[in-house]
């Protein structure tokens, strides 16, 4: 190793060298996407101890900081390669973690949508002096609508997480799920498929417009699909008015879902780094 400059000085590990070692460890941890904070911390500590030993060995042989950093890098290997190997070891756990986290998000979101829409409907029933019981008769259709809202919103969010750099790709899960849902609902409940599908589209487009940094523009996201449906089919159905109540329920639901997603990211922030 004649190309390394040997220094007669003896230092403790500090400054640039420490930063270099930290960078190697951080890169491995970032790319390996290890499941769980505890495991990440352990791997970080373990790799760091190894790099410290490597650096100390090089320093004890008289190499300066720059040469030591190169030796460490050469002997340790590329962080990308190490990270890929770690990722493959913990692939199953990572997948299980993601499924668990997604289940939590979907469950909490569904409960929130049921509560929000339930409250909106109850208030509307009180103000219009109609019976809430009449709504309960079509509860399974209502549930289909709630699930469609969650599916529309969460599928777009999943797309954003899977493909953070491409909007076109981020839309893929929503579009695929929407088409699948249309096929299933059209087959199972053809007479009642329109509203859940509209709810799905509204929630997805609401989420889409929530990405734009203009206040309240996302309100148009929840309105637009309903407006299109109303423009297309409204004239064909006698007395059909724009469903303001549905829009209100959808909009408040999207707002609640946005907060849930934010909370979700805060709780599982490490897993999304």
């Amino acid at each position: 190793m004649v190309f390394f400059y040997k220094s007669s000085e003896r230092h403790t590990l500090e400054g640039k060298l420490v930063t270099h070692l930290d960078r190697i460890v951080s890169r491995v941890i970032l790319l390996a996407k290890l499941p769980g904070n505890k495991r990440r911390g352990e791997v970080e500590k373990e790799l760091r101890a190894h790099l410290d030993d490597l650096a100390e060995e090089a320093r004890s042989q008289g190499y300066d900081d720059e040469a030591t950093a190169r030796i460490v890098r050469m002997r340790f290997g590329e962080p990308e390669e190490v990270a890929a190997a770690f990722a493959s070891v913990y692939a199953t756990e990572r997948l299980a973690n993601r499924i668990f986290q997604a289940s939590i998000l979907v469950t909490v979101s569904t409960v929130a949508v049921v509560v929000v829409t339930g409250i909106v409907q109850s208030i509307a029933a009180i103000f219009t002096a109609t019976s809430v019981i009449s709504t309960l008769r079509g509860l399974h259709y209502e549930l289909a609508g709630f699930c469609a809202i969650v599916a529309g919103y969460c599928s777009l969010y999943a797309g954003e997480r899977l493909f953070p750099t491409s909007l076109a790709r981020a839309l893929l899960p929503s579009v695929s799920l929407g088409l699948g849902l249309a096929a299933v609902l059209g087959w199972l409940i053809p007479q009642h498929a329109a509203l859940p599908l509209a709810a799905f589209a509204c929630a997805a487009s609401g989420r889409l417009l929530q990405r734009i940094e203009i206040r309240l523009i996302w309100l148009a996201g929840t309105a637009l699909p309903l407006l299109i449906a109303w423009t297309l089919f409204g004239p064909l159905i006698a007395g059909w008015q724009f469903p303001w109540l549905v829009w209100l329920g959808l909009t408040i639901s999207c707002k609640a879902l946005r907060e849930i997603v934010r909370l979700f990211e805060r709780v599982f922030v490490e897993d999304f780094s």
Binding site: V28, E42, V43, K45, E46, L47, A49, H50, D52, D53, L54, R75, F76, G77, E78, P79, E81, V82, A85, F86, S88, V89, Y90
Partner: protein
């Protein structure tokens, strides 16, 4: 005998056996495992040291290794690995497999060379 460029895949396939064999003698931490393999191979055995850790974690996941953090004389904390009962069995099995395999390969090679 330093720096013989072994095939990466060959190294990858044998790293688990080397870990199990070394740990069957005593508990060690990662850096120590590397030092020991380099020493025993008289500097011939070289591989990217970072890749040792995923291999250790894989064996740990399979239940072949146990691990614990210990503080050394210099006050440094290191994660020591040791063999479990299943790990000892796996070490014996892997060693036998290796010897059978190399015996067969050697037989073929010596026939081919004669």
């Amino acid at each position: 005998m330093r720096g013989v460029p072994f095939d990466r895949e060959l190294l990858k396939g044998s790293i688990a056996l080397l870990i199990l064999k070394l740990l069957s003698e005593r508990d060690m931490y990662g850096y120590e495992i590397i030092q020991e393999s380099v020493r025993r191979s008289q500097d011939a055995f070289e591989f990217k040291e970072g890749t040792l850790y995923p291999a250790l974690h894989q064996l740990h996941k399979r239940g072949y290794l146990h691990s614990e953090w210990r503080t050394g004389e210099n006050g440094k904390q290191r994660k020591y690995y040791g063999l479990t009962v299943a790990g000892r069995k796996a070490a014996r099995r892997s060693e036998q497999e290796w010897f059978s395999f190399t015996k067969v390969v050697n037989a073929i090679l010596s026939k081919a060379n004669s």
